[in-house]
């Protein structure tokens, strides 16, 4: 449950922060300490954890965030239970690839509050995973891409969030398809799903390149919680296959 992860993270996040006297810890929760925020005001610092289990979140990823208000001033990422996931023999890797892209797009759209498109993306995912649903799925996917591309309100909401230039990509060894802002990445996610669907079954699918876990922490630093959630969702990570997102440090 998302609630449990959230509630637990909030309270246990304080544990281990030495505040000395217990009388400054009403109900057993130590008070927050202050620090200067990005506008030069002194603001309380809260340590909270995002993940490992949270709705529309790559499961297994844990972000330990230092929050001031709802701005993430510092973050540290790690993976729990990293290990090989058992491949599902009944579903081809190509279909899994497409389904994962659709699922990630659904998560991103849900975080952006575009519920209709999110439901649509989930239906495409289900159609892909169902045997013999490819033709139906590609029609649905075409409609979804048109819906997402045409929504000017979605463009307004996602543009200029988490921009990645060529230099940023090189710095964090990120794959080429993550260039641009969150909206560009959403469109590229759907495009790659369409490409995967159009390929013949025998053809080898490109393996999703690994994304550095440290990069995730760097990318969300300085953004507020809502934007940070959008940025993480737009990185199109593989959920539950923690072995793919390697740490090179």
């Amino acid at each position: 449950m998302a609630h449990d992860a959230v509630g637990g993270g909030e309270h246990t996040g304080h544990a281990g922060m030495g505040h000395g006297a217990m009388d400054m810890a009403p109900a057993g929760i130590p008070l927050a300490s202050g620090a200067e925020d990005r506008d030069g005001l002194e603001l309380d610092v809260l340590h909270a954890r995002l993940g490992p289990v949270l709705a529309h979140w790559p499961s297994g990823l844990v972000l330990r965030c230092t929050l001031q208000g709802d701005v993430i001033v510092d973050a540290e990422a790690r993976l729990i239970d990293a290990g090989p996931s058992a491949p599902n023999p009944r579903i081809s890797s190509r279909h899994l690839f497409v389904a994962r892209r659709c699922d990630n797009a659904a998560g991103l759209l849900a975080l952006a509050g575009f519920d209709d498109a999110a439901s649509h993306a989930r239906r495409v995912r289900d159609a892909v995973l169902k045997a013999g649903g490819t033709a139906h799925a590609s029609r649905q996917l075409y409609r979804l891409r048109r819906m997402v591309r045409r929504s000017w309100l979605l463009r307004w909401s996602l543009r200029r969030v988490g921009p990645l230039t060529e230099r940023d990509l090189a710095r964090w060894h990120l794959p080429e398809h993550l260039r641009g802002d969150v909206r560009d990445r959403l469109l590229s996610m759907l495009d790659r799903a369409a490409q995967g669907l159009a390929q013949a079954d025998g053809q080898s699918t490109h393996d999703q390149p690994a994304v550095l876990i440290e990069a995730v922490a760097d990318l969300v630093r300085g953004w507020d919680l809502a934007a940070a959630r959008l940025i993480v969702a737009s990185l199109d990570l593989e959920a539950l296959t923690a072995d793919r997102e390697v740490s090179r440090v």
């Binding site: 009403p26 008070l31 927050a32 202050g34 506008d39 309380d44 969030v161 507020d224």
Partner: protein, 187 residues
């Protein structure tokens, strides 16, 4: 009869809620008991048939307390939901001053010979009250409102941490502006 009972009940609640501001030990509760006190006063003004003034009192005070709770929480620098804290400072002097003021005002109320009603209230009591209070100085009052708004804007501009040179660069040519997070209009 019902009006009288309601008036007195509201008066008692208003005073009690006002006292609660200094008794409760959290800033959110203090702010909102003040809001309750003001809402009661607003309803009393409604009973005095000053409908506009009464409703506007409720409107302004609720909004004000919502903002005030935010500022109190923001500037006190502690998590006040958790940390019980006293809402009174310099107790002895404050108590002396408030009792003295109360006695003075109460004496005034009791000793003042209140006039009996002459004639009937006008159709539009709000307009009549405005005329009575401000009369020929209406233009001055209207101008003061604008001056106050301008003062607020100027104060915010002067206090702003980042100016346009921080956003657009020294030659004001940088586009898009350098902001911690982009705004909604794309300036």
């Amino acid at each position: 009869m019902i009006t009288h009972v309601a008036f007195w009940a509201l008066a008692v609640i208003a005073v009690l809620a006002g006292a609660a501001v200094f008794i409760v030990n959290s800033m959110a509760r203090a702010s909102y008991s003040l809001a309750v006190s003001f809402i009661c006063v607003g309803l009393q003004v409604l009973l005095l048939q000053q409908n506009y003034v009464g409703v506007v009192t409720i409107l302004m005070m609720v909004m004000e307390m919502a903002i005030m709770a935010v500022y109190m929480v923001m500037f006190m620098g502690m998590n006040p939901a958790l940390m019980p804290m006293s809402m009174v400072h310099d107790k002895r002097h404050a108590l002396a001053v408030s009792i003295a003021v109360f006695v003075l005002l109460a004496t005034g109320v009791l000793l003042e010979p209140w006039p009996a009603r002459r004639g009937t209230p006008p159709d539009d009591v709000t307009a009549a009250l405005g005329e009575e209070l401000m009369g020929p100085k209406m233009l001055v009052m209207a101008a003061v409102g604008v001056v106050m708004a301008v003062t607020i804007v100027a104060g915010v501009v002067l206090a702003a941490h980042r100016g346009r040179y921080d956003r657009f660069g020294d030659d004001l040519r940088r586009r898009p502006a350098r902001d911690p997070q982009p705004g909604g209009v794309g300036r």
